[in-house]
Symmetry: C2
Subunit: 136 residues, 2 copies
Amino acid sequence: MVEVTHRQTEQKAAVRSALEKSTDFISAQDLHARLRDKGSTIGLATVYRSLNDLSQTGEADVLQSGTGQLFRYCGSGEHHHHLVCVDCGKTVEVEVPVEEWVQKVSQTNGFTPVRHVLDMYGRCADCEAIRRSTAR
Amino acid sequence: MVEVTHRQTEQKAAVRSALEKSTDFISAQDLHARLRDKGSTIGLATVYRSLNDLSQTGEADVLQSGTGQLFRYCGSGEHHHHLVCVDCGKTVEVEVPVEEWVQKVSQTNGFTPVRHVLDMYGRCADCEAIRRSTAR
DNA sequence: GCCGTAGTGAGTTGCGTTCTCAATAGCGCC
DNA sequence: GGCGCTATTGAGAACGCAACTCACTACGGC
C-alpha cells in the first residue's frame, strides 16, 4: 500500500477549471460539451468520474434537478446551502442554521444523522420583474 | 371551454389507494408492480401520470433518491419535512421551522420564494444497533 | 528509458421516466 | 337512457442520464 492513488492528470484539471469558470450549476453533459467545444477530447465518462471525485472531496456541490444532477464549484469545503432562481439559474450560497435542528429532530426520533438536503428555489428580483410584466 | 378537466377514473383512485396503503416511500415502478399483482391492468405511464398529479396537488410527497423518485401519501396538504432511515427506509414526518429562514434568506437576497427542499437522512435506532454489532 | 498500473475514451448497456398514438371510457347534453 | 366529444388510458418505443467495459494511454517510481 504505497498510496499512489489520485494521479494528477490534464483531464481532471480541465474539469475542475471548467467547473470553476461556471458560476451557476451545470450538468455533467453540459460541462462535457463545453470542454469538447474548446477542443478537448475528454470523454463523458471521465467528466462524470472527475465530478464525482470532486463532489466526494467537497470541492464541488451537487444538486438534484429534475433532469439529473447538477454540479457547481465550491472552494471552501464547508457545508452550506443554496438559493437558486428557478428561471435563470442564478445561485446564491447561504448560511442557514439548520444543522442544530437536524441534530435535535434526529435525537428526538432516535435517529443518527447522516446527511441532509436543504435547497431553496425562488425567483430572483430580475426574473420576478420580468414575470410580473409579461404573464397574467 | 366548459372545464371538464380532471375526470375521475378508476386508475387514479387505484393509484391513490395503493399509495395510501404504503407507509414508506415507494417508487413508481414498485407501485405499478403492486397494482399489477392485485390484478389491475394499469399501465406504467398512467402510474407516473397519476403520481405526478398527486404530487402537484400536494396529496403526495416526492423524494429524490439515487435511483429515481420516490412517492409517499400525505393526507394533509400541509407542508412538512422528512427524516428517513438510509438503511430500512423508515420515515418520520417532522416539523422544522425552516420556513421563516427561507423567507428571511430569500428576502435578504431579493428572491421571491417558490419552494424548498429539506430532507434529513440518518439511521434509525434499530439499524444503528445492527450496524454497530455487525460492522467494524 | 522502462515498466506496472491508475486513468482515459468510445461505445455500449441499464434503468427510470416520458412520449406516441390508437383505443377506451367519463361526463355533459339531449 | 343513449349520443358524442374528448380527456384519459395502456403498450411499447423512445429518450436521457449515468454507469460499465475494455483496450489503450501516459503518469510516476525505479
